[in-house]
Chain length 354, copies 5
Amino acid sequence: MAQPEKISKKYGMSPGSLVYTGEKSGSEPVVITLIDYNADTLVEKSGISLADCQAYINRDSVSWIDISGVHNLEIIGQLGRMFALHPLLLEDVLNTEGRPKIDDYDDYLFMVLKMIDYQPDVQVIDHEHVCLIMRKGLVISLQEHEGDVFGPVRERIRKGKGRIRKSGADYLAYALMDIIVDHYFRVLEDLGGRIEEFQDAVLSDPEPSILEAVHGMKRQVIYIRKSVWPVREIAAALLRSESDLITKETQLYLRDVYDHTIQVVETVEMFREMLASVLDIYLSSVNNRMSEVMKVLTVIATIFIPLTFLAGVYGMNFEHMPELQWRLAYPAVWAVFIVAALGMTAWFKYRKWL
Amino acid sequence: MAQPEKISKKYGMSPGSLVYTGEKSGSEPVVITLIDYNADTLVEKSGISLADCQAYINRDSVSWIDISGVHNLEIIGQLGRMFALHPLLLEDVLNTEGRPKIDDYDDYLFMVLKMIDYQPDVQVIDHEHVCLIMRKGLVISLQEHEGDVFGPVRERIRKGKGRIRKSGADYLAYALMDIIVDHYFRVLEDLGGRIEEFQDAVLSDPEPSILEAVHGMKRQVIYIRKSVWPVREIAAALLRSESDLITKETQLYLRDVYDHTIQVVETVEMFREMLASVLDIYLSSVNNRMSEVMKVLTVIATIFIPLTFLAGVYGMNFEHMPELQWRLAYPAVWAVFIVAALGMTAWFKYRKWL
Amino acid sequence: MAQPEKISKKYGMSPGSLVYTGEKSGSEPVVITLIDYNADTLVEKSGISLADCQAYINRDSVSWIDISGVHNLEIIGQLGRMFALHPLLLEDVLNTEGRPKIDDYDDYLFMVLKMIDYQPDVQVIDHEHVCLIMRKGLVISLQEHEGDVFGPVRERIRKGKGRIRKSGADYLAYALMDIIVDHYFRVLEDLGGRIEEFQDAVLSDPEPSILEAVHGMKRQVIYIRKSVWPVREIAAALLRSESDLITKETQLYLRDVYDHTIQVVETVEMFREMLASVLDIYLSSVNNRMSEVMKVLTVIATIFIPLTFLAGVYGMNFEHMPELQWRLAYPAVWAVFIVAALGMTAWFKYRKWL
Amino acid sequence: MAQPEKISKKYGMSPGSLVYTGEKSGSEPVVITLIDYNADTLVEKSGISLADCQAYINRDSVSWIDISGVHNLEIIGQLGRMFALHPLLLEDVLNTEGRPKIDDYDDYLFMVLKMIDYQPDVQVIDHEHVCLIMRKGLVISLQEHEGDVFGPVRERIRKGKGRIRKSGADYLAYALMDIIVDHYFRVLEDLGGRIEEFQDAVLSDPEPSILEAVHGMKRQVIYIRKSVWPVREIAAALLRSESDLITKETQLYLRDVYDHTIQVVETVEMFREMLASVLDIYLSSVNNRMSEVMKVLTVIATIFIPLTFLAGVYGMNFEHMPELQWRLAYPAVWAVFIVAALGMTAWFKYRKWL
Amino acid sequence: MAQPEKISKKYGMSPGSLVYTGEKSGSEPVVITLIDYNADTLVEKSGISLADCQAYINRDSVSWIDISGVHNLEIIGQLGRMFALHPLLLEDVLNTEGRPKIDDYDDYLFMVLKMIDYQPDVQVIDHEHVCLIMRKGLVISLQEHEGDVFGPVRERIRKGKGRIRKSGADYLAYALMDIIVDHYFRVLEDLGGRIEEFQDAVLSDPEPSILEAVHGMKRQVIYIRKSVWPVREIAAALLRSESDLITKETQLYLRDVYDHTIQVVETVEMFREMLASVLDIYLSSVNNRMSEVMKVLTVIATIFIPLTFLAGVYGMNFEHMPELQWRLAYPAVWAVFIVAALGMTAWFKYRKWL
């Protein structure tokens, strides 16, 4: 969700100015992790400095530098100088409100992605800005905070499972994209569960509070849609790309990411339809309830108002009311009351109001 | 319907990992069937192993291997090795939540389709993931369970009816696609009947339960739309394809499949419009009923409330109320009651409330 | 309207199988008519057999064979053999639920169209499946039943009016397409009249029955839209076509058909907007009526309930109620009644509820 | 607005038949005006015959022939013969329900436009069918009636203001298109004023009649949209055109017309949004009013119904009702009445119903 | 927002006529400012005449002429002559209702933009028409009034910060576009805050006035959308442009502007969804309130109407009513009253109406 208040922090700055638009978290340390591997060797270092990474780059291996915490402008600046990155790229790294995209800077590719996580206890979707810089033999990933969804990729590198140790940096970049998109399914699974809860709730007990919850959920699925839709374009751009940074083999895998993003979007669309159904059913339930209330009122009033009138008539104090003296007048009136009430009730039954 | 909970089973796996996302049905056996034919000969074997098929392949005939039950990873792995299939293809075979698509792996084509079936007794649409692998002289079909819609195609092969025995594997693949799409019409026929029932029900007796039923039906037609729409793209891709796996003659038939998918989608759109009409009429009926209820209440209350007031007046105990002593007061009051009631009724008739 | 129940009749048949999906009308005879003409000569024969036509074909004239009644599979089969037509074409002739389209079979063009007719007395749109086969010097038209909209074209041929006698088969095919599309305007004219009736009715006397009528009409205009929209594509395909069956001069006329189909679709869209307006106004009228009913109830109840209360107070039987003995109490109470009622009425007038 | 009843007048006629579809105005005379000019000379003649124009054509000047009243088929036929115009073109001139379009007949261009005018007193938009035929050195404009929006163009020609006298026929055709589109802004200005009146009215005094007015206005803006949208395509076609009838300089001006049509459409879209807002606010106002009415009823009924009950209790005639003899019973009951009424009122105030 | 009443001021004028369509502000002076710079030198002059600028143009530096106040036709005319600008360009400068666009006049580029500003105190968005003319070494910016958003750009030029002093006129033009788009985020930030206020207000206290406010806000975000959407096309056109006025380096920056416009549009779309949610929740709240009111009425009426009837019965004056003489009749009736009232209340509790 592009939050304009954050973006406007940069208002009036020279383009390429380094301004961090995320939440200030000055005390949070920046953690740099390096994984350097090829089919045979594997080096993994954590909590190092950028300078420490220098030795591993440009060797005949794939280096993956992960920087958690992009609020430290000094380190970002250093990164820019070390790898000759364009100022606009650095600006995009820091602009945590930017939308997913891919920029081709000839000798390296730059991708912006959104990592999302659902916290079921507070029912809030956490989103994190993730950037990938890829060039031959090197992938740099930049995230807002420590903690990510890349664990399984690290595991696969460590265990040497699958193709990852035998492939280049492009496959690593693909694997990171893929795991981010795969994680959307996890979040969708949780949201899907919530929506089914809504569906049950709206049928059994339509509370006004559900309206807010449904609209909140709608905003969240729209957010997911906005995060994943551009990833489709990124995958398509990489598929079409003539950059020699992407091997033909990796393109087969990117087609897979492309398919997955379409599936995420289709699921999101389905969720929106389901939420719209929930709203429809809710509104109709409220209507039905009201209709029921009105019927009760109408039945009671329609039965008793005429009877009360009749009772009122014989409560009048006229001197000359012959009925008042009749012996059987009182039971006769009760008979009228009962017959009238039963007749009305029968009529309401016939009209299916009861 | 992409069910995220199923897809997320694979979360974090290496791409190309073989994980079955369908319902575990470990005890269900995998049934492999081979039909090998050309214009003159026909061999049909059931319950064989993959190795048994080996002998028939690469002969001057069309082999159709059907594998019912894709949950057995061993057999799928064996299939992959036997025909040198790409790991991503095998992953797509197992990912029963994948959407319909076509992938061109140069020497073979891979198609994902959705087979649907409507069970009128429980009013549920059954869907099954079907994959077709086609190369020269060979079609492999993979389904989730035994039982399919391919019966008529088998029959045509056995009887040597039509062009099928004289044509190649591309025509067989077309025939399988065609029968899957044709089956959508059967399901639509059943759904169409249900929707007409809704239309009648909503006019004669608008029950709140119809709302749920209509929304459920809406989800089902959307599901069909999502299943068949990509088939259009598949047919179009095959029509445009320059692959020499597809003969020009078969392309004429694929144009037919293309037309049918459009017809399915148009019918689905019409069903959606009809369901929307049902909802509109339902909501309006509820409104009308309520309006009718209110009218009854209003008529009764408006007639009797003033009369009751008048009765109340002559029930007051003032010592000096000259009317009370009048001889004809009581009949006069009754006259007033009756005239007022008739007047009100006439006025309501005039306003068309009665 | 693709009626799935009809299409599914063919389920499982070999493609190209001849199955008639229309209503069985076994007893209805097939009527074959031949008109053979050039600028100078004119032969017209009716009730002949296909074999009788043979003599006129391939001569230096335009032959128009019209076959009314496509349910006779024998004749259709004979036609296929006589003119070497593709089995899929014959299938499309018989599939009366197929959508309009054009197929180019190199040496002949095949068009599917929908002829519609409105029967104002029963307010139902009749639709008929029409196919045109065109090759050099020959147009074959196939219809479901006798009775069509081609009369004016026949008349023009007979009278030698216009360009038709001097032009080739392509112009005849155009003339038939044109008259079918022109007939849509006639139907739209009738529908437009009905919609205006709806508009008047909904303002003067909003009946619940109008809702159904409007939704029924909506389905009919959607049906027209679905019938004519593909004709646009057919005309566009013929305009772009490089087939030498279409002369450049005829293409000018096809541009006209193209324009007309757009006009039909625009009119249909306008009708949909008008129908939506009718629904809006209907719903709002119902709402207004209800609101009016509620106002009457409220006004009556609000005036009399307090008065009834006051009457009730002086109907109490307390021994010590000093007012009861006052001489002027009774007229005073009446004064209170009248003042209160007038005050309330004035207040309602002020609030514009009366 | 394509009025099918008018178009169907031509039903069954040979294409290119001259049938006037506008309102018959047989007595209205056809007025032909000629303006012939170049940078130096200017001839202006009115009420002449077509033959009189002959002399000015093909000279080294721009001739503008304006024909007001296209219902005279003889004159239209004569025009066709004189300039060798295609029969379909003449048909389009007479078909006053045709939509705006451009047809390129190689040696001349043919444009159909719609001239609209708003009559504020009757709040109706007048529309008129206008055709332009342009070839080298000649523009023929054909309109339904006398009276048009071309006045300022004539003025500019007479005064020799601007580029018009120095430019060719293409610039004149552009100027006519431009003034027609410019006039849409005038009409939109009037409509905009009306919509603002609606907005004020709906807030101050929501009358049911506004619904009809809004829906009527909606149809009118849709009509404008339909008239101007194809003009965009016309301008685009002329911009792309390789016809040597259009100079490069004039194309710059056509870009301007193109921009204006987009602006008209955007304004129309905005008007539609505004009308939708008016409807929303109207419906919500009606709802609010009803809600208010209900509140009044509820408040009155809820306060007095319990009090009336209590008064009724002490109106009962039981022999043994000790309260009836108490000295202070009557004032005590009044105290109860007043406290209860005040309590209820306070509660309603607290619930914000009063 | 294209305001037709302003555009129609120009009605009938020759194209290219200089007519100012903005608000007449004859007394407001036109202020011309010149900034001329290169990497080393900087000249800044304010309140000069156009002629004074002449000296600085065509030197080996970038000149930025800013003209605040375009209502002075004389100065605009002088500008046109001085730089040989096309009359249509000048017309577009004066047409303050024109939409954003880019026109390529070969030797110079012309851009129309919209500068917006939000005044939170009056909750109105101010919009201003801004034109940029760019050629080699020269940028001319034209605005309606003094006061703009270009301050930060001026500051960057003065301080020599960033690339601006080292780059050409294309970079300056980019910087001006960029700051205008960046300012949209500021306005969106303010609007976003207002929308959140709406969301809170609608939940805590749904007032009818919110409806108007929400519809007003909707118009404003639509206006922003209309202002920024064409800027995307402008940036895209510049990116694709083969004009040698734009360097390859600047195109990288234009990609950034392009991304920002998409972000603005996405935010606007999100705002629209949020406003739609606010309306939904508002309408549902009104409904809920009404439903609550009805429930209270129904509960009170349903409890007391039957009791009042019973009291009425014992208020009748029949001579022969045995109950009246019973000793415990009165307490017994009270017992009935209380039991009935409690029973009803319990039933309502059970139905969850209380």
